[in-house]
C-alpha cells in the first residue's frame, strides 16, 4: 500500500517537473522556431513549426552577429584570464602569509563585494570617457578585470584550508612565494579557479547595460548589445532577428556542454554573490 503510494508520488513529481520544464523551455523553443520563419510564416503562424524552414535567416544574422560574438569571446577571455591571475595570487598571499596591514587590505577587498558595479555606472563611465576608451574593447576589458573580489574571497578560503605540510618541503628547498604558488597551490586550486573563471565569463556574457553605454559602436559591440541593435535599428526580417538571438546564446551553450560540471560549480559558487 505504502509503496504504491510512494510510486504514485514519484509519478506526480515527474509530471509537475515536466510541466515546469515545458513552460521554462517554451520561450526558448519558440525562439528557435521563429528563427527559421520567413516574414509570412512569422505573421501567420508564429507558434509551432512551419515549412520550409528558412535557414537563410541565420546567414543574414551571422553577418551582423559574427563580429560582436568575436568581441565578446575576446573580452571574456582576456578579462577572465587577467582578473583571475591577479585574484588567485592575491588570494594566495592573503591566505598564507602575514605582513603588516594584511587584514586591513583584505577587508578593503571584502567590502567590494557589497559595492555593485551598477551604482558606480556614472563615474566609471566618466573614467572611461576621460581616457577616451569608449567604443574600444578596453572599455569592457579593464572594468571587467576589476571583478576580483569574489574570486579572492573564495580562493583565499581554499588556500587557507590547505595543510601546511604541503608547503613544508618546498619551503625547506627554498622555494619562493611565487614558486610555492605556481608549483603547489595553483595546480591544486585548478578546479576552483576554473569554476570562478566560468562564473566570470558568464557574468561578462550577461552584461548589457555597461556595454550599451560604452561600446555601442561596431568596433566594440558585444553579442547581447548587437542582438538588440540588430533588431531595433537595422529592422531585419523578423526571423533573422530571432536567429540573431540564437546566435548570441550559442557560445555560452557550447561552453556549458563542454564544461558542464565546472560550469554548475562555478554558478553555484558565484551565486553567493549574485
Amino acid at each position: 500500500m505504502k509503496r504504491l503510494h510512494r510510486r504514485a508520488g514519484q509519478w506526480v513529481i515527474q509530471l509537475v517537473l515536466l510541466m515546469l520544464a515545458f513552460i521554462t523551455f517554451a520561450p526558448l523553443v519558440t525562439l528557435l522556431s521563429l528563427s527559421v520563419k520567413d516574414i509570412y510564416q512569422f505573421n501567420v503562424a508564429p507558434m509551432g513549426l512551419t515549412f520550409p524552414m528558412r535557414f537563410e535567416n541565420y546567414t543574414l544574422a551571422w553577418k551582423f552577429m559574427a563580429e560582436p560574438i568575436w568581441h565578446n569571446i575576446l573580452v571574456a577571455t582576456v578579462a577572465t584570464l587577467a582578473s583571475l591571475s591577479m585574484a588567485s595570487i592575491s588570494a594566495f598571499v592573503f591566505a598564507r602569509f602575514r605582513f603588516p596591514g594584511r587584514d586591513l587590505l583584505f577587508f578593503a577587498i571584502m567590502i567590494l563585494l557589497f559595492i555593485p558595479n551598477t551604482v558606480l555606472l556614472v563615474p566609471t563611465y566618466q573614467l572611461i570617457i576621460s581616457f577616451s576608451l569608449q567604443n574600444t574593447l578596453w572599455a569592457l576589458i579593464l572594468p571587467y578585470c576589476a571583478l576580483q573580489a569574489l574570486a579572492i574571497v573564495v580562493l583565499r578560503t581554499f588556500f587557507l584550508e590547505m595543510p601546511d605540510e604541503l608547503f613544508d618541503a618546498a619551503i625547506v628547498d627554498g622555494a619562493s612565494v611565487v614558486q610555492q604558488f605556481t608549483a603547489i597551490a595553483a595546480p591544486l586550486a585548478k578546479p576552483v579557479i576554473g569554476a570562478m573563471a566560468i562564473f566570470q565569463v558568464w557574468v561578462i556574457w550577461n552584461d548589457y547595460a555597461w556595454p550599451s553605454l560604452v561600446a555601442n559602436a561596431p568596433q566594440a559591440r558585444t553579442a547581447a548589445l548587437a542582438l538588440i541593435v540588430f533588431n531595433d535599428f537595422t529592422m531585419p526580417a523578423p526571423g533573422a532577428g530571432m536567429a540573431a538571438g540564437v546566435l548570441a546564446a550559442l557560445p555560452m551553450l557550447v561552453l556549458f556542454f563542454a564544461t558542464m560540471r565546472t560550469f554548475i560549480a562555478g554558478l553555484t559558487a558565484g551565486a553567493i554573490k549574485g
Binding site: 512569422f42 575576446l74 591571475s85 570617457i129 577616451s132 611565487v178 604558488f181 555601442n216 568596433q219 529592422m235
Partner: protein
C-alpha cells in the same frame, strides 16, 4: 641567489597578467586597424566601381594620410539608399588622391542613441576625423569643439569655378543657415534639394477604397472623418509609434501641431538676445523664451497641442504606447496611414510584399484654409545630410585632408552627380511634381507628399523641445505625453510635468553656456 630567482619569477608572473592584456587585445582594440567592422575594403579597390571623379582640384597640393569618417548608417550597404551616392562621391575623391585612405565607422542605433554618440564623443574628443549625419539639431552644435567653416566659405572651393565656396550652396546657402551659431558655420550640407529629412504620410489606397474614402483629406476635419471611416471598416487608421526605435515620429508630429499654434510666441522670441530675426528660433532664443515665461506649458498652443494629440490618439495603431514589435504594419496591409521620412522610402519602394497601391500626402493644416508648415529637420529643400569636422581633426593635422573631402562632395559637379543618382531628381522648392517626375504617375503619387506643399517660406519655426534640447532628451517629452494619452495623468498634471521638463532642461543648457550671461537677460 634564491632571492633573485624569486624576483625573476615574480616579474614573470606579473607579466603574465599584463601581457595577457596587451598582447592578445592590442591588435583588436584600436578601431582603425580593424577593417572588417567598417564593412569597407580599402578605398582604392572600390574606387573603380564609383567611377571617375566628377571634379578635379585646381590646387596642386598633394594630400596623403588616412581619413576616418563616422557615418550615420552603413552607407555602403544598400545601393538603393540615397546615402549610397555619398559613398560613391567619397570613393571618387579617394581615387583622385592615391595616397589617401578612407575608412568608415557607421554609428547605428536609434536616433537618440546616435545623437548621444555624437555629443558624447564630441565632448570627449573621440569622434572620427569627419562626421556625417542627418537631421542636425541646434542642441548638438558646439562652437568650441567643431571646426568653423566661415573663413573657408569666403575662399574659393578648389573643386568649383565659383568665386567663393559659399556660392556653391544653392538657394542662397540655406543649407548653412541652421548650422550657423554666433556667426560660426559648424557643418556643411552635402545634399541640396528634395530634403531627405522631409516627412510625409504614406497611405494604403486599397484600405482607403474599402473604407469609402474617395479623396485624400484636405482639411483636418476631413482627415478625422477619413480615419473614422477606416476604423469603421476594421482597419487601424494611423501608425504612430511613441516609443522605441521609431519613437521620433511621434515627436515630429507633436512639433507639427505645436508649430501651427505658437506663432505669437515665435514672434515674441525671434530676434531676442542679440540673435537674428529670421523666423527661426535658435537654442539661445528658445532658452530666453523659457526663462522669460513666453514659452510655457500653459500657453494655449501647448495646451491645444496636447489636447489634439489626445483626440488623435484614438486612431493610433494598437499598442502605440509600446515600442514597436518586429514587422511593418503598413507593409502587412493592416494600417491605412504611415508617417515616414523620405530617407526610408527605398524600404517601401523595394518591398516585394507591398502588393497594394500606395502613395504619400502631407497632413492638412489644423486650421481650415491654411497650409501646414513643412517639417523635416531642415526643410526648404536644402537637404539634411551634413558633414562636420571636430576640432580634434585639426589638432591631428588632418584639416587639409578633411576639408578637401568636404569641398569635393559639396562642389557643384558633385551636386550634379548626386542629383542624377537620386531616386527622384533634384528640384527647386515650388516646382510642381509633374515637372520633377514627368510621365510617371505611380511615382508621382508615391512622392507627392514629400514635395507638396512646397517647403519654401513654410517651415516650422523650431520652437519645440526636439530642436531646442535635442532628439535624445525629447524622449522625456514623448513620455510625458504618453501619460496623458494613456489617461495616467490629467491635463493639469501633464502640463505641470511639461513645465518642469522645460525649466529643468533650460537650466542645464544655461549651465552649458556661461558665455550667454543669462543673468543679464
Amino acid at each position: 641567489m634564491k632571492q633573485s630567482i624569486a624576483w625573476r619569477n615574480l616579474a614573470l608572473w606579473l607579466c603574465i597578467g599584463v601581457l595577457a592584456l596587451t598582447v592578445s587585445a592590442c591588435g583588436m582594440v584600436t578601431p582603425p586597424t580593424e577593417p572588417p567592422t567598417n564593412a569597407e575594403p580599402p578605398a582604392t579597390t572600390e574606387a573603380a566601381a564609383a567611377g571617375a571623379p566628377v571634379a578635379t582640384s585646381s590646387s596642386d597640393k598633394v594630400l596623403s594620410g588616412e581619413l576616418v569618417i563616422n557615418t550615420w548608417n552603413d552607407i555602403t550597404a544598400d545601393p538603393a539608399h540615397p546615402s549610397y551616392v555619398l559613398h560613391e562621391l567619397i570613393q571618387q575623391w579617394a581615387a583622385s588622391h592615391p595616397d589617401v585612405t578612407v575608412t568608415y565607422q557607421p554609428m547605428l542605433g536609434t536616433v537618440p542613441e546616435r545623437f548621444g554618440y555624437i555629443s558624447t564623443n564630441l565632448r570627449s574628443q573621440t569622434l572620427a576625423d569627419v562626421v556625417m549625419q542627418y537631421f542636425p539639431s541646434p542642441a548638438q552644435l558646439d562652437g568650441d569643439l567643431q571646426y568653423d567653416f566661415s573663413a573657408d566659405l569666403d575662399q574659393p572651393n578648389p573643386y568649383s569655378d565659383n568665386a567663393t565656396w559659399r556660392e556653391d550652396f544653392p538657394l542662397n546657402g540655406v543649407a548653412l543657415r541652421d548650422v550657423t551659431v554666433d556667426g560660426k558655420v559648424l557643418m556643411v550640407g552635402s545634399t541640396y534639394s528634395g530634403d531627405l529629412g522631409d516627412t510625409a504620410v504614406l497611405y494604403n489606397k486599397d484600405i482607403l477604397k474599402q473604407a469609402g474614402v474617395e479623396e485624400l483629406p484636405r482639411t483636418w476635419s476631413e482627415f478625422y472623418a477619413a480615419m473614422d471611416k477606416i476604423k469603421a471598416a476594421g482597419y487601424e487608421p494611423f501608425y504612430m509609434p511613441t516609443a522605441g526605435a521609431d519613437g521620433y515620429i511621434f515627436t515630429w508630429y507633436t512639433v507639427l501641431l505645436s508649430g501651427q499654434l505658437m506663432d505669437d510666441v515665435v514672434a515674441q522670441c525671434d530676434g531676442q538676445v542679440g540673435e537674428e530675426q529670421d523666423g527661426v528660433i535658435s537654442q539661445k532664443e528658445a532658452i530666453w523664451c523659457i526663462e522669460k515665461g513666453y514659452w510655457n506649458a500653459r500657453h494655449p498652443g501647448v495646451v491645444q497641442t496636447f489636447e489634439e494629440m489626445k483626440k488623435w490618439s484614438q486612431y493610433f495603431h494598437e499598442g502605440y504606447l509600446a515600442p514597436s514589435a518586429p514587422g511593418n504594419l503598413f507593409a502587412q496591409g493592416k494600417v491605412a496611414f504611415l508617417p515616414t521620412v523620405r530617407l526610408t522610402m527605398a524600404v517601401y519602394e523595394n518591398d516585394p510584399n507591398l502588393t497594394f497601391e500606395w502613395g504619400s500626402f502631407y497632413l492638412p493644416a489644423l486650421k481650415d484654409g491654411e497650409t501646414s508648415p513643412r517639417l523635416g529637420n531642415s526643410g526648404a529643400g536644402q537637404g539634411s545630410q551634413y558633414l562636420f569636422i571636430p576640432n580634434t581633426t585639426v589638432d591631428k593635422g588632418k584639416l587639409d585632408l578633411a576639408r578637401d573631402l568636404l569641398q569635393y562632395v559639396t562642389s557643384p559637379a558633385a551636386m550634379e552627380y548626386w542629383c542624377a543618382n537620386q531616386p527622384i531628381p533634384c528640384f527647386a522648392p515650388g516646382t510642381p511634381i509633374e515637372e520633377i517626375i514627368p510621365g510617371d504617375p505611380v511615382k508621382q503619387e508615391r512622392y507627392r507628399g514629400f514635395i507638396e506643399p512646397p517647403t519654401i517660406d513654410n517651415m516650422v519655426a523650431r520652437l519645440d523641445a526636439n530642436d531646442v534640447f535635442g532628439p535624445a532628451i525629447v524622449v522625456q517629452e514623448n513620455q510625458i505625453l504618453q501619460d496623458y494619452l494613456a489617461g495616467n495623468a490629467d491635463l493639469e498634471q501633464t502640463l505641470d510635468a511639461y513645465q518642469a521638463f522645460l525649466e529643468q532642461q533650460a537650466s542645464n543648457i544655461l549651465l552649458q553656456h556661461p558665455e550667454w550671461n543669462a543673468d543679464s537677460w
